[in-house]
């Protein structure tokens, strides 16, 4: 007799054993020769500069929104793709309309110039303004 909870427990146990064996085996076999370069944070092969806790440019936000359009599209596209064979051309047309409307969102961003990274007149905040609270 095994309930669904039992299966989950089994997964946990097997997972722990698997990971435990791998780590234990690795620590037995691997050579142990640390040096400063090896201990440094790996950042695409570059030497890390400054703190990672910086504020990102808010222009990334617009890019994230454009991503969001197509991210959610996948959610609705997936069940459609699973049952697509049984539905035929009508479902295909319906999904095309949906896709068209989403693409229009991208066209809107494009037409309004939100995709251009270099804005015509970037407003650069000046430190003294920020301190006075002007902008």
């Amino acid at each position: 007799m095994l309930t669904n909870f039992g299966i989950i427990l089994l997964f946990f146990i097997i997972g722990f054993i698997f990971v435990g064996i791998s780590i234990a085996a690795a620590s037995l076999i691997r050579p142990h020769k640390p040096n400063p370069i090896k201990n440094a944070t790996y950042e695409c092969g570059e030497v890390a500069l400054g703190s990672p806790w910086i504020r990102f440019n808010t222009r990334f936000y617009v890019i994230a929104l454009v991503f969001l359009i197509f991210d959610v599209e996948i959610v609705l596209l997936f069940p459609w793709a699973v049952v697509f064979k049984g539905l035929g051309w009508y479902a295909f047309a319906a999904m095309l309309v949906f896709f068209f409307i989403l693409t229009l969102g991208l066209v809107y961003d494009w037409g309004k110039g939100y995709l251009d990274w270099e804005k015509p007149n970037p407003i650069v905040p000046v430190l003294s303004d920020l301190i006075d609270g002007k902008k």
């Binding site: 409307i101 229009l104 969102g105 066209v107 809107y108 494009w110 037409g111 309004k112």
Partner: protein, 493 residues
């Protein structure tokens, strides 16, 4: 199939044109183009909706009898009757708002094309609410209405008032959506279907699971009273209405509130039924009715009492719109023919009078939040006789003085509540109406019998005059010939 498309036409036109408005904006970036396109789209939707309103009942019955596989709306959408009527009302509200908004946003901030597409999108959402015959469509409608509202509230994004109103509206609106959705999930759990009509049938057969049903009704009441700004969840309304751009507040307080009430009626009509085979479920329904009655009474009293102490006309109107939600809920409590007709009539009348009052405030408003206190309005009739006469008409109608539309709306609702054995609710309603007269009449006295103290107000009417003329005419016509609406809308729900 062709038959169905005829009835779907208003929804198709509004959704296609709201998407098209975004595309036009991206491609041509022409302000007048988007303005006139929105007017054109709303007029086309209005005509299509009027056509479906006149369609015969046989056609609708024929659609109802069709098999699921022959339909594209899959019985998820209600056709004709009240849906068509509310389509017309929402389109009218949108038209009046857009016409009044163009000069206002140009003067106070900057005209962005997005304004028009946002209005179109939210009207699309409202129409989906009035057409909904499934919890899913109702939910999509409510959200399609609310999300553009959050953006519209913060439309003046350089003004802290507007952004703060938007932030508040967003958080509380999304919070309410959570409750509404949880209620819908529980209703689904209690009955096993999302179809609102079927939910009603399952409840009346006493087959719903009582605990989930009770939870579902309770949570949905919370969510819907948030959206309709009813007590005890009304606190956001005055802040949002007084912080948002005035024309946008007019749109929220009229069309937005009407749509929320329509959603409320659609749900409550199926849930509150006493002719039920299970004793426990009938008891739940009776409790729900009593709770709505208390919400209604408290909303009227709180709305009117707090409006009484306001020094700012816009904020006073915001509180009065809370109170009016209370009157409208009376019709739901009564849940009889007269009550539903009363709701339809009162929404129609309320929409025009509240819109007119807000637009007059917007005409005098300067620099975001100035020139709208009671003192600024003193002695107004000397400098602006026509505008103060119009304001008096709207105020008298909101107070429910006989020759105007507001009176008959209240009359039907009060009568319906008495017929449903809710005499105490009617007494509370009458008392709060009397309270409300104090500040409505007070504004009129301020305009006509006080000396000007703060210097003359400057008005820039512009195109808003069309809005004002139409709203005033509607208030007077509905008041003199109430049977125009009542004969049309009887038996709608």
């Amino acid at each position: 199939m062709e038959l169905e498309y005829q009835f779907l036409l208003p929804l198709i036109i509004i959704s296609v044109s709201s998407v098209a408005a975004v595309a036009f904006d991206a491609i041509w970036k022409n302000k007048n183009l988007n303005f006139s396109f929105s007017i054109f789209a709303l007029l086309a939707t209005l005509i299509a909706a009027a056509y479906t309103l006149t369609a015969s009942n046989e056609a609708i019955d024929a659609i109802k009898a069709m098999a699921l596989s022959d339909l594209i709306s899959k019985h998820q959408i209600h056709f004709g009757g009240y849906s068509a009527y509310f389509d017309i009302l929402f389109c009218l509200a949108g038209l009046l708002t857009i016409v009044a908004a163009k000069p206002f946003i140009k003067r106070e901030y900057e005209e962005y094309n997005e304004f028009y597409s946002l209005i179109l999108f939210s009207i699309c959402g409202m129409m989906l609410i009035s057409h909904s015959s499934s919890l899913l469509v109702l939910f999509i409608g409510i959200e399609l209405m609310s999300i553009p509202f959050y953006v519209l509230a913060g439309f003046f994004r350089k003004s802290i008032f507007s952004v703060e109103a938007s932030l508040k509206y967003f958080f509380l609106g999304a919070f309410a959506t959570g409750f509404l959705l949880y209620g819908m999930a529980m209703l689904y759990g209690a009955t096993g279907t999302l179809d609102i009509k079927e939910i009603g049938i399952i409840i009346s057969q006493g087959e719903a699971i009582p605990i989930y049903l009770t939870l579902g009704i309770g949570l949905m009441l919370v969510g819907l009273s948030f959206k309709a700004a009813a007590f005890p969840f009304h606190q956001w309304a005055p802040d949002v209405y007084s912080g948002s751009p005035t024309v946008v507040s007019a749109f929220f307080a009229t069309a937005g509130k009407a749509a929320a009430i329509v959603g409320f009626v659609i749900i409550a009509k199926e849930i509150i039924q006493f002719d039920v085979k299970s004793f426990q479920i009938a008891d739940t329904a009776r409790t729900a009715q009593l709770i709505i009655a208390f919400i209604s009474a408290a909303t009227m009293l709180i709305g009117n009492l707090t409006a009484l102490v306001q020094k700012n006309v816009k904020r006073m109107l915001a509180y009065s719109s809370v109170a009016h939600a209370g009157y409208l809920l009376m019709g739901i409590v009564a849940s009889n023919e007269l009550g539903y007709t009363g709701i339809i009539f009162y929404i129609s009348a309320y929409m025009f009078m509240q819109m007119g009052a807000f637009v007059i405030v917007s005409v005098f408003e300067r620099n975001g939040n100035e020139k709208m206190s009671f003192d600024d309005y003193s002695g107004l009739y000397k400098s602006h006789p026509i505008l103060s006469a119009l304001m008096s008409i709207f105020m008298l109608s909101l107070a429910g003085i006989p020759p105007f539309a507001g009176f008959f709306g209240k009359y039907y609702l009060f009568l319906a509540a008495i017929k449903a054995d809710f005499l105490w609710l009617t007494i509370v309603a009458v008392i709060s109406s009397i309270i409300s007269m104090y500040y409505y009449i007070g504004l009129i006295l301020q305009m006509y019998f006080k000396e000007q103290t703060h210097g003359r107000l400057k008005s820039k009417v512009g195109m808003a005059k069309y809005t004002l003329l139409i709203t005033a005419a509607a208030v007077i016509i509905f008041g003199i010939f109430p049977s125009l609406i009542v004969d049309l809308t009887y038996n709608f729900f």
